[in-house]
């Protein structure tokens, strides 16, 4: 009985080795490489793998990180952002607001450039961009789009936000003063910081409204992730 099992193991091993030898001796037939694909569709518009890669490159450049540092979570978050941007982009067509100028975008790009000492010279900057697979023109256009999206959100949501003085006083009393004491700084009067607190509270409120707006847009939209399994992003969901 043991002999039978041993013979079978020898036969299997021989077959595997024979197959291995055959593979080595065969002319090489390369399998096709996937060079691009659809990773999401939003109301009939597609987001490609290359769009996602490009978005990660922008993100890496503007945040001073390396693309290699991005985790799967980062990639999923980037895709989710692209979906949101597509949804907001549709809203942009029917909205009126001051669009970003190229100069404004260039100024933002200049700020990002300061993160890289090697980009101080034009050659160094171009080398850096090439490393990320980007061009300066495309980068500026990308930043313009980002500024436009923020302005769209402001134009749409900020007018709906009203911060009353009681909220400012409450924030000053319950959050600002305790943190001030904790940091050991000197006393700052409510009048001195009320403007900034108002702005902070406004931002928080805009954020809340933004969340519900995007939720609403998603619920009214058709978002499919045909390439989701390849991206390992099953489970991306809104709440």
């Amino acid at each position: 009985m043991h002999r039978v099992h041993a013979n079978r193991a020898i036969a299997v091993s021989a077959a595997v080795l024979l197959l291995f030898w055959g593979m080595l001796s065969l002319p090489v037939v390369r399998a096709a490489d996937v060079i691009d694909r659809i990773v999401a569709t939003v109301n009939g518009h597609i987001i490609l793998q290359s769009d996602l890669d490009e978005a990660l490159c922008y993100q890496a450049l503007l945040s001073g990180r390396s693309v290699a540092q991005f985790t799967d979570d980062d990639r999923r978050a980037a895709l989710d952002r692209l979906i949101d941007q597509e949804l907001l982009g549709e809203q942009m067509k029917s909205a009126y607001f001051q669009h970003a100028s190229e100069a404004e975008a260039a100024s933002q790009v200049a700020e990002a450039r300061k993160l890289y000492p090697e980009a101080a010279t034009p050659e160094g900057w171009q080398t850096l961009l090439a490393r990320f697979g980007l061009t300066e023109k495309a980068l500026i256009a990308h930043v313009e789009q980002q500024i436009d999206l923020m302005r769209l959100v402001d134009a749409r949501l900020r007018p709906a936000v009203q911060i009353d003085s009681k909220s400012i006083e409450a924030y000053y009393r319950e959050k600002f003063v305790p943190q001030l004491k904790e940091s050991g700084a000197g006393e700052v009067s409510l009048a001195d910081v009320s403007g900034k607190i108002r702005e902070l509270l406004t931002e928080e409120k805009v954020n809340e409204l933004m969340v519900s707006w995007l939720q609403s847009l998603r619920s009214e939209s058709k978002v499919n992730l045909p390439g989701a399994s390849e991206l390992s992003i099953e489970g991306v969901q809104t709440r």
């Binding site: 291995f20 996937v34 659809i38 290359s50 931002e203 969340v211 995007l214």
Partner: protein
């Protein structure tokens, strides 16, 4: 403390707020253990081989993304696996990354976007494989599917299969998704519940066809037992008990729940409150609670009766009936400001048409406890009469009559005793006329009005003078057309607007319609046109016109896919298709196709659609989805028939016969799947028995203009008082439509058609009247074969066959009956009728006088041995045998008879013409002449009876004559010879009697009369009262005594439809 954030703070922050990453949802099944080891080993080995042999040094394998080693390499070929061959080439044309070019990341992206935008694919992946120094680019796709046939299996009678299909909201040709299918199921379940089927099981079965990318959906419905009414409750301030609501709504626990029952219940409850003048009552179903364990549905009615609404008028007497008619609150059963204001305007109109031109109406509302009073406060002002509306100064545009047709103010006339006028109406009219002038190039038009309220010295008698200063008319300067890149100017329809012509906005609109219509019908569904006009800088009073066309993408037809035919042969559908592969996509062609298929009458539903309408693919598949109608139609009925001039045996004018009647028809449509129809029709009564079998080939030789009909026909009718006519007939009709076949939507068949015919029939006269000349009975009662070729020509140029007001109608029917065709009598026959219609005066359509006239001429000419025998000319010899047994005559049922509501209204049905000298019964003749003149009055309303009544006066003349040559003489004779000499004894008188029988009936009989018409959807109900000015006198043997008789002067007819 820093409280500012960098610019991207917010966006990053948002994402953290609403994105949550869950663990993998679809872990793969582990492989069976004993194979897993081997497969894993092979994968590892394979990877090792590839990395050892193929991976270039330093290359990075990415999850996706263009490997730098491929960038810039020449593409040997581009592949689209899994796509049908006929589609592949044109799809490859759409993409920017072509074979032979170098591989570029951006081009690949654009190519994927272009392919996706076609709408044909749900997913696309670009792959590259090396091939020598070049690469092979492959777009791996997964196809989209589109909605095909949607059918239902097992529906209840309510909802019907059509209702269920509509509820599914799956549109033919649109993208099919499982979301849509789930929504469809949900909608159908809701529909079933609305109809009381809470236990319905609804499932769907979809069948996809990869070749056509179509998905057919079959919904299986198992309705289950219908729910019944459970508890009926009531909420709201109505104070009605549950029992009262049940009683009022006719909704009792245990009743079966149906949508109709629930709707009726609500209606009944609302009606109750409406009767109480509670127009603000709110009745609705607040809740429906289903109990699955008992299959019962509880209803909770929400009832708020609201206040009693009382509407009245103050300051002027308005009858309650008028208020109900003019205030829409009563009709709509609702009260709101819009309805009340509409009522106010209606009352103003009412007052102004009655001469109170200065009337004012205000609305006053008074709220009391549970009562809302709406009072129309009326200041009627003095009574006026608008006697004159004068328009002057119109020289270069419309004539006065045309301009008047645009006015709301109207001078007094027969039906509007005071005319119609108010300052507001006049102002609106001036505005209308100015707009009309300006839109037709009279930019400087000025219209002044003066109102003379003491016209002809009579206070409150008004005359309105409208003086028009037209000014110079603007003309068209230069005309430019731009943007027509794919359609040359020579192919565009000719423009109405031409340089130098009068400028007209209507012409501009016409041009817009024609240009866009052309584009839409030639594959440019997104074409648009912008028209700009500017004052010419070169010439004064000229307007330059520029048409700027945005053509958009041109779409063509890829394939035409027909589905749904089960029995119908392919060619039957194919010959109706107006869309062909490679033709430009035309919405009109789709509509024409649908219309033509419906016109076949063999499909109960025809849908045409573009597959994937939202995709950008310029080659579109066209879907034609048909549903075959039931092939057998059974019709049966029972009723009564009545007819005048029935044989009575003794009364030569005939009697009115009444009989029960049974009908049974069977129609077999689409015989053999060839769109040919087999019909059996029968009706049996005491007055008439008829059976017919016909076989119709509607499109002979695939032509819309030729139709072939085979008919076998049996008829036993008693519409001539003298005898019973029996006819067994077979015939072949070949009908040719001359001009348009009328099969295209919006077209009518050409006015003319001709039917070539071969008739073969056996006719027999029997059941002769009492006392009929026995010498002729033997001859006339013999069955006779009649057969031969003939044709019928029809030319119909009437505007409306049911109620003609203009045009004419001409028919010519001929037959040659000869022994060469198997006939036993040789004769030729021609019967022609021509009717004309003419409007008199300038009233509005439907309110005009119409003068109608019709002339019928019929001639029969025997030849060879066939003879015409005058009445009574065939005597018995001394042996009591007929003296003319060997003579061949035209059979009695083939002779002309006339008289009745649709021919000569001075006679009863078929009572005109020569008569048998013994019995006095009509025996027909071989020539016929009838002329009708009729003046039809406009429709009017009668007190108590309402609208839709019309009157007519008429004059009919003519008769049936013994022979054609007698007809010519008879037309000039208005009186018959005296009958008196015949009643005296002696030879001379006998000859006189014979002469009277030969030609005494050849005269022209005149009748005048009046008619009453009542309009119905199937034509006017018609009562005609005819008075014969010179009715026929004839002889009749009564109790062996020859007596003179005379037909009655007065005849009454009832019928449906105009007489001609």
């Amino acid at each position: 403390m820093k409280i500012e954030d960098p610019p991207e703070f917010r966006l990053r922050h948002f994402r953290r707020l609403f994105i949550e990453v869950k663990k993998r949802l679809n872990p793969k099944e582990p492989l069976p253990k004993r194979y897993a080891t081997l497969v894993t080993a092979m994968i590892v080995l394979w990877s090792a081989v590839l990395s050892l042999r193929a991976a270039p040094e330093g290359a990075q394998i990415q999850a996706a993304g263009l490997n730098p080693q491929y960038e810039g390499k020449t593409i040997e070929r581009v592949e689209l696996p899994g796509v049908a061959e006929q589609d592949r080439d044109h799809l490859l044309q759409l993409i920017s990354q072509k074979a032979g070019t170098s591989l570029e990341r951006e081009q690949v992206r654009e190519s994927i976007r272009a392919l996706y935008a076609t709408g044909r694919f749900a997913d696309i992946q670009a792959e590259v494989a090396p091939s020598g120094d070049a690469v092979i680019l492959t777009f791996v796709t997964s196809a989209n599917f589109f909605v095909g046939a949607v059918n239902v299996e097992g529906p209840s009678s309510r909802p019907t299969a059509n209702q269920i299909t509509n509820a599914a909201k799956l549109q033919l040709g649109e993208l099919f998704t499982h979301d849509k299918l789930n929504r469809a199921l949900e909608n159908i379940r809701q529909l079933m519940q609305e109809n009381g089927y809470y236990r319905a099981q609804v499932t769907a079965e979809s069948t996809s066809n990869a070749a056509t990318q179509q998905v057919d959906v079959l919904f299986h419905i198992s309705a289950g037992s219908p729910a019944h009414v459970g508890d009926v409750k009531v909420t709201g301030p109505s104070r009605l008990s549950s029992g009262q609501v049940q009683s009022l709504a006719h909704l009792t626990p245990g009743d079966r729940v149906t949508a109709q029952r629930v709707s009726n219940s609500l209606q009944r409850l609302r009606k109750k409150f409406q009767k109480q003048n509670r127009a603000l009552a709110q009745v609705s179903i607040a809740a429906q609670t289903y109990h699955p364990e008992t299959n019962a549905l509880d209803f909770t009615f929400q009832i708020d009766p609201g206040p009693v609404v009382l509407i009245s008028a103050e300051g002027f007497h308005i009858s309650h009936g008028t208020l109900k008619r003019e205030i829409p609150v009563y009709e709509e059963n609702a009260v709101d400001d819009d309805l009340l204001n509409e009522g106010k305007n209606n009352l103003l109109d009412y007052l102004q048409t009655r001469g109170h031109f200065d009337a004012r109406v205000e609305i006053k509302k008074e709220f009391e406890a549970k009562v809302l009073r709406v009072i129309y406060v009326i200041d009627a002002g003095p009574l006026h009469k608008l006697a004159l509306v004068e328009i002057t100064g119109n020289k270069n545009f419309l004539d006065t009559a045309k301009l008047r047709s645009y006015l709301q103010i109207q001078p007094a006339h027969r039906l509007l005793a005071h005319g119609k006028y108010s300052e507001a109406l006049l102002k609106a009219d001036v505005s209308t006329l100015e707009g009309l002038y300006r839109s037709n190039g009279f930019r400087q038009v000025a219209i002044k009005t003066t109102v003379d309220d003491n016209y002809e010295g009579s206070p409150n008698k008004l005359a309105v003078h409208i003086a028009i200063e037209e000014g110079e008319r603007t003309r068209v300067g230069e005309v430019h057309v731009a943007g027509n890149q794919k359609v040359p100017m020579s192919e565009l329809p000719e423009l109405t607007i031409q340089p130098g012509q009068p400028y007209s906005e209507q012409d501009l609109a016409n041009d817009r319609e024609r240009i866009l219509g052309y584009y839409f019908d030639h594959g440019f569904p997104n074409a648009s046109l912008e028209i700009t006009t500017v004052a010419s800088t070169k010439e004064a009073n000229r307007q330059d016109v520029a048409y700027r066309i945005q053509e958009g993408e041109r779409f063509t037809v890829d394939q035409v896919m027909v589905a749904g035919t089960e029995h119908t042969r392919d060619y039957v559908v194919q010959r109706e298709l107006q869309v062909k592969a490679a033709d430009p996509l035309s919405q009109q062609d789709l509509l024409n196709t649908q219309s033509r298929l419906y016109n076949l009458g063999i499909f109960s539903q025809v849908d045409t659609a573009v597959q994937n309408p939202e995709g950008t693919d310029p080659e579109k598949n066209i879907l034609v989805q048909v549903q075959e109608a039931r092939r057998y139609t059974f019709t049966y009925g029972i009723g009564f028939e009545f007819q005048t001039s029935q044989p009575t045996g003794t009364n030569s004018a005939g009697a009115t016969g009444v009989s029960p009647r049974v009908e049974f028809d069977v129609t077999r449509l689409n015989f053999g799947g060839r769109n040919q129809t087999l019909t059996f029709q029968s009706h049996v009564g005491r007055l008439q028995q008829r059976g017919l079998v016909s076989y119709t080939i509607p499109k002979l030789l695939d032509s819309d203009k030729w139709k072939l009909i085979y008919t076998i026909f049996y008829d036993n009718s008693l519409d001539v008082a003298t005898f019973t006519s029996q006819r067994l007939e077979g015939k072949i009709d070949l009908r040719q439509q001359i001009g348009s076949a009328g099969t295209e939507p919006g077209t009518r068949p050409g006015p003319s058609s001709i039917t070539y015919r071969f008739d073969f029939r056996r006719v027999k006269a029997s059941n002769f009247a009492n006392g009929f000349n026995p010498g002729e009975i033997a001859l006339l009662s013999l069955p006779a074969r009649v057969g031969g070729p003939g044709f019928t020509f029809i030319r119909d140029k009437r505007d409306n066959p049911l109620e003609s007001t203009k045009g004419n109608y001409f028919t010519l029917d001929t037959l040659v009956s000869s022994r060469y065709f198997g006939s036993e009598a040789d004769f030729g026959r021609a019967l022609a009728q021509n009717s004309t219609y003419q409007v008199i005066g300038k009233g509005k359509p439907g309110h005009q006088y119409v003068f109608a006239r019709s002339t019928s001429i019929g001639l029969q000419q025997p030849f060879l041995s066939t003879r015409v025998l005058p009445p009574g000319s065939c005597k018995l010899n001394s042996a009591g045998e007929p003296t003319c047994a060997d003579i061949t005559t035209i059979p009695l049922p083939e002779q002309f008879f006339t008289g009745g509501g649709n021919s000569h209204r001075g006679f009863g049905l078929n009572q005109a013409g020569p008569r048998d000298p013994n019995s006095g019964f009509p025996v027909g003749g071989t020539a016929l002449f009838v002329n009708n003149l009729e003046l039809r009055f406009p429709q009017t309303s009668l007190p108590w009876l309402g609208e839709g009544f019309g009157f007519a006066i008429f004059h009919d003349m003519g008769n049936v004559f013994t022979a054609p040559h007698d007809g010519l003489k008879g037309l000039l004779r208005w009186h018959q010879p005296s009958t008196q000499p015949c009643l005296s004894s002696g030879t001379t008188t006998s000859q006189y009697c014979t002469a009277f029988s030969n030609s005494g009936y050849d005269y022209t009989s005149h009748a005048v009369g009046v008619g009453v018409r009542y309009k119905t959807p199937i034509g006017p109900l018609r009562f005609d009262f005819g008075y014969n000015l010179n009715p026929t006198r004839y002889f009749q043997v009564k109790n062996t005594t020859l007596e003179t008789q005379q037909l009655r002067h007065f005849n009454v007819f009832f019928s449906i439809g105009q007489p001609f």
